[in-house]
Every structure is written in C-alpha cells, then in structure tokens.
Amino acid sequence: MKAETSDCVVFDIADGSVRALNQFLHDPMGPTRQVVVENPDGAHSIAVGVNAPVEIDIRGHAGYYAAGMNQHATVTIAGNAGPGVAENMMSGRVTVRGFASVSAGASAHGGLLVIEGDAGLRCGISLKGADIVVGGDVGAFSAFMAQAGRMVVCGDAAENLGDSLYEAVLYVRGEVKSLGADAQFEPMTDADRAAVAGLLQAAGFSHDPASFRRVASAKQLYHWNADAKQEY
C-alpha cells in the first residue's frame, strides 16, 4: 500500500507487499527523497538492491537482509534487524537503532553500518571495505576472514574475534573474550585514534578514542606453509 506527499512516499507493508516496495525503489523515483516503511513486522528483504541516494525509514523491526547490497541510500531501522543486515553493502549508510542478528554487514564493500545495540555472531564476516560501528557488544567470530574495512566495537567482543583476518582493522573498547586464529592486538597510533574518532562521530557516539584497542592480522596465514600453526 502506498501513500504520497510531495517528496515522501509511505509504504505500509502490513499486507506483505515487500515486492511493490522494492520495485518502487528500483525504478526511477523522480522527486522522491524519502520513503517511509510502516509495519515492517520483521519482513525479509526490505529495501534490498537500492541504487539511489534516497532516505528510507523502516519504522519497526526488519527481518533478514534489510538494506542488502545497498548503494547510496541512507536506511534507518527503528527497531531490530534480522540476519545479514546491509549484507554486501557497497555505499550509503544503514543505521539499526536496536540490535542486529548474525552476519550484520557480511561482505560489505563500502558505506557505513551503525548498530546502536548489540550485534550477534559473525558481525562483519568477510568484510570487504565497509565501516561498521557497534554501540554494544559483538558475538563470536566477528570479522571472520574480514579482508578490508574497519569495525569499531564500543562494548565487548565474544570468542574468536577477527579469526583468519586479512587487512581489515578492528577497534574494541571493552573486553575481548578471545582472539581468533592469526588475530593480534597492536598498539594504537595517532592515525588509529583519528580513525576511531571519525567513525564514532559519524555514528553518533561520544566515547574517548583512546579507550579503544586495535586488533589486526598477524599475517601468519598469508602463505601456506608447513611451519604455520595448523589452526586452519
């Protein structure tokens, strides 16, 4: 169901009409600058494959893959997000006001994902260049095989943070239950503090950048050899 004002279009998807919403977002949108999604009620694939600088406000909880493969759009989820929020995002910004389930920001290439609450397992798995800022904690195996990009965790990280990390860099303010294979703590430099400060500001958090620790790859798994620890 669709209702329009001058540059704002409201979709009420209580009837399950995600298809109509996505088709609208994929077609040329003319003067539309804002799309409001009412009654998302955990529907899957809300606002996926958007390739336009439009503002999308999801007024409730979203199911799997909200804002998947996003390009240019600014998406705000007023509630919680299911698995794979902003998966493979290329650009733009996705904000989750509540909690995010597993695989948040999986394989995202660009843009900024902000999760104001906690994130589940494998947050930032296979990250390929995007930035992720999590206001709360992240679950186990977060940033698994993350290749590029940055992840800021304002709370704690569960087991095996940064397992099999490539070039992505992680910043954690709280406790780290354990690091994964080939991940290590490294000293924070001025550049790291500046990066954290910039990401915190963009995400709307006010923590002291100096209170974060840096985690990056020890690069011992970069070349297959018999002397590497058999952790893979």
Binding site: G49, Y65, G68, M69, P83, N88, M145, Y166, H223
Partner: protein, 452 residues
C-alpha cells in the same frame, strides 16, 4: 668365469598393490614437505561413468530419424519456474563456472565468444565478473559463492541468471585456495586482497546457514533482480537425493549437480579423490528427487563432472538431465595438456615448460601454480598471451558444435526429434555397478541391481 643356471628372480620386482609406486611417492612427498598436495583438475581414479552405459538405437521395435535429413532440436530452456526471463539456449551443453583468477582474462573472453557463437551460456566463478566475459557472453550466469569475492549488485543486475554455489563436485564441503602466485594486481583488486597472498575461500556462505535460510536468501536475490532472472543452486554430489529436494524447496529454478569427476583450480588431492560420489550416481539420485517432488519439467537439472563428449551429454539427458555443463573439457579444447601453443598461426612447443613443472603433456594438473605452459590457467603476463582469444574461441566453438552434433546423431538414432526426448528406456549398462547406480538394466538382461 661367472655363470648361473638360474634366471634372475623377478619376484624381487613385484610391486605392492597397497604400497605401489604412486603411494610410496605420496608418502615420501608428505614426509619431505609436511603439507598435503594441492592440484588442479578433477578425480583421476576410475569410477563408474557414462562410458559404462550404451544406447539401444532404433531398429524394428523403434523407428529412427533420417540422420542427415530430419531435424533434431537441441533447444534448451532453463529457469521456467519463477523467472520472468528464462535462459534460452541453442544446445543443452553449457560452460561451467571457472574463476577469473584461475583462468586469465583472455580465456574468459574466449569462453564468452565461443558460447555466444554456438548459442549457449557461460558462467563466472569465484572472483567476480570481468568486463571481457560480460561483453563477450550473450548469456552469462553469475555465481554467488561463499567468498563473495568481487560480488556486487551492479553485476547481479547485469547477469542473465544467478547461481548460488553450495559446493562443487571436486570438493563438496570444501572452500577454496587460490595460491598467491596466481594473484596479479587485477585479480587482487577484484577480490579486495593484497597481491601475492594465498586467498582462502570459505566453505560456508557468510550470511545464511542451512536450507531454511537459503529460502530467504533466494528471495532476497529475486527481490534485487525484480524476479527477472533464474536462480540456480549448484551442489557438489554427496547426499544428492536430499540435497536436490532441499534446493527445490528453497525455491531454485535450476539445480546444478556436480559429480566427483568435476574439476577444480586448486584443491587438496585427498579431497578430490576421496570426497563425493560419481556423476553417474548423482544424476540418478537428482532425477529421482525431482520425480519424487513431481517437479520434473518445472525445475531444470544441469549435470556436470566429467562430461566430455556428445555421447556423455546424451546419456545424461536420457537419464533425465535437462542440460550438462563442461569445465575441464573446455580447458582441454583450449589447449590444456597440449604439446604446443599457437602464436600468430605458428605452433610452438611447450614441452620444456611442462618439464620445468615436473610434468609432461597429458599428465599436467598444475593449474594451481599459475605456470600453465599453454596460457590457460595463468595470470602471468607472458604466459597468458600463449592463448590467443580468437584461437581459443574457435577451438571451443568447434568442440561445442562437435558435441552437439554427436548428441543429435545419437538422439536421431534413437528416433527422437528433440534431444530432450531421450529417455532412460534408451539406455543399458555394461557393468553391474553402472546398472545399479544409473538404475538401468544390465545389457542383455532386464536386471537392475537393487530394484525389483
């Protein structure tokens, strides 16, 4: 003068069946290196295969088509279940997914040109879609793999079909490894990884787990593509009956089943040879699954893994497949394991380059090294020029046409006006094993082992 009345004893030269020279070599290699062997191509061990099946041509009880006069259609449509634009092909022989990274950009271009000329599809691979293959391919299937290397929405929208890869026959349950020596700057940039670093590909997808999630993942891809293009699901052949049913339940338009003879660019030898089931057994189970769900004709089945000839394709179709897919056959057509490569019309020997890899034409499986002597599986700036795209495209076009002519020849001989009319009743098996796996009678009998 030393003389002897007895011949030299030959029993001292008896080779052990358990510890034969191949095994001794394997053990000593492991002892020297501390690493398992990684190699390219597929299983080398002998398994029951399409060679073990024969066609019952027409005679008195069946009426043949006039081979040189009457038409036999090989048109093939894939993805009729949900997609607005199913894939329409001139032949049921498609080109399997092979990555840019494993293959050079020249090779990918050659594949696209040949496929377009004969009216079939080609497929991307781990590492994303190259401009060359998109421009040269009329029908391009875009793979969505666990690594998601190079995966992006622009290419999703440019694709003619999406193939979600759960596994491949050479390594069902395994991820990938592109060794650092094959990572040139372009490959590295497409995959967002440093040059020269070994690239591990995950075994599981990053954003879904299990068949219930796959339902939702497929719906997401349909939403992104506005339900236009077919979604394929590719599985490595193991528990095929259940896996095909789950793929159909998940919403696949097309299921691709890759048997253990299927190729790889780089996988552990122990994995290639010891995990998965033969293509012959896999086809039977896949067709049984579609029959069981009453989805034959709605969900199409593509079979791959050791398909070499039109006869293999005909047998797969007769068993119930809608199309086949070829990978290693493509490489051999391009010149893989050939003694020479062509430069400006001249054949130049590559034998010394094979020797430098410790191998020879006919035996080479060194795809993983990136030192392909004939320029097929390489990213080396010099070696890749050994495969000229025009030469490669012509060879592959010829090979595909030959296969399709063989396929229609057999179909006509069995009295079919359409290759898709080939049926299981046209087949018999040469061995008890093949009869049991394929579910067709042993030749000259009505006995199908394991069935009443």
């Amino acid at each position: 003068m030393n003389t002897s009345n007895t011949a030299p004893p030959t029993v001292s030269r008896e080779e052990s069946a358990t510890f034969d020279r191949k095994t001794i070599d394997y053990i000593q290699r492991a002892a020297a290196s501390g690493l398992y062997e990684i190699r390219g191509l597929g299983a080398k061990r002998q398994v029951p295969h399409f060679d073990d099946l024969l066609f019952l041509g027409a005679s008195l009880s069946r009426y043949p088509l006039e081979g040189y006069r009457e038409k036999c259609s090989s048109k093939t449509v894939l993805g009729t279940r949900f997609a607005k634009k199913p894939v329409e092909l001139e032949m049921p022989i498609t080109i399997a997914g092979m990555s840019f990274g494993a293959l050079s950009a020249n090779v990918k271009e050659a594949l696209g040109r040949a496929a377009t000329e004969v009216g079939t599809s080609t497929t991307t691979g781990d590492g994303g879609m190259t401009r060359e293959e998109r421009e040269s391919s009329k029908v391009l299937v875009y793979q969505c793999l666990p690594s998601r290397y190079g995966f992006n929405p622009d290419d999703v929208r440019r694709a003619d079909a999406i193939e979600i890869v759960i596994g491949q026959g050479a390594k069902p349950g395994g991820g990938g490894m592109l060794l650092g020596q094959k990572i040139n700057p372009r490959v590295a940039a497409m995959r967002v990884l440093p040059q020269g670093v070994d690239q591990r590909s995950a075994a599981r997808h990053p954003d879904w787990t299990g068949p219930d999630d796959l339902v939702i993942k497929i719906l997401e891809l349909r939403e992104i593509t506005d339900w236009k293009v077919p979604i394929y699901v590719k599985i490595g052949a193991t528990r095929v009956f259940n896996d095909v049913k789950l793929a159909v339940h998940a919403g696949a338009d097309v299921v691709v089943v890759d048997g253990m003879q299927g190729g790889t660019a780089a996988t552990q030898t122990t994995f290639i040879e010891n995990v998965g089931i033969p293509t012959l057994a896999a086809v039977r189970q896949a067709v049984d699954a579609l029959d069981d769900l009453n989805m034959k004709g709605q969900v199409q089945l593509i079979v791959s893994g050791g398909i070499r000839s039109g006869a293999d394709a005909a047998k797969a179709l007769a068993m119930g497949a809608d199309a086949v897919s070829i990978g290693q056959g493509v490489l051999f057509a391009l010149g893989c394991n050939s003694e020479s490569y062509v430069q400006g019309g001249q054949h130049i020997s590559a034998v010394q380059d094979y020797a430098a890899l410790g191998t020879a034409p006919g035996f080479c499986h060194h795809c993983h090294t990136g030192r392909c002597p004939v320029g097929v599986t390489t990213q080396d700036a010099v070696l890749e020029t050994r495969l000229e795209p025009a030469v490669g495209a012509k060879r592959l076009r010829n090979y595909l046409r030959t296969m399709n002519m063989e396929l229609t020849t057999i179909a006509r001989a069995c009295g079919k006006q359409n290759v898709h009319h080939l049926e299981r009743e046209d087949l018999v098996a040469l061995t008890v094993e093949a009869a049991a796996m394929a579910g067709v009678p042993l030749a000259g009998t009505d006995w199908i082992p394991g069935r009443r």
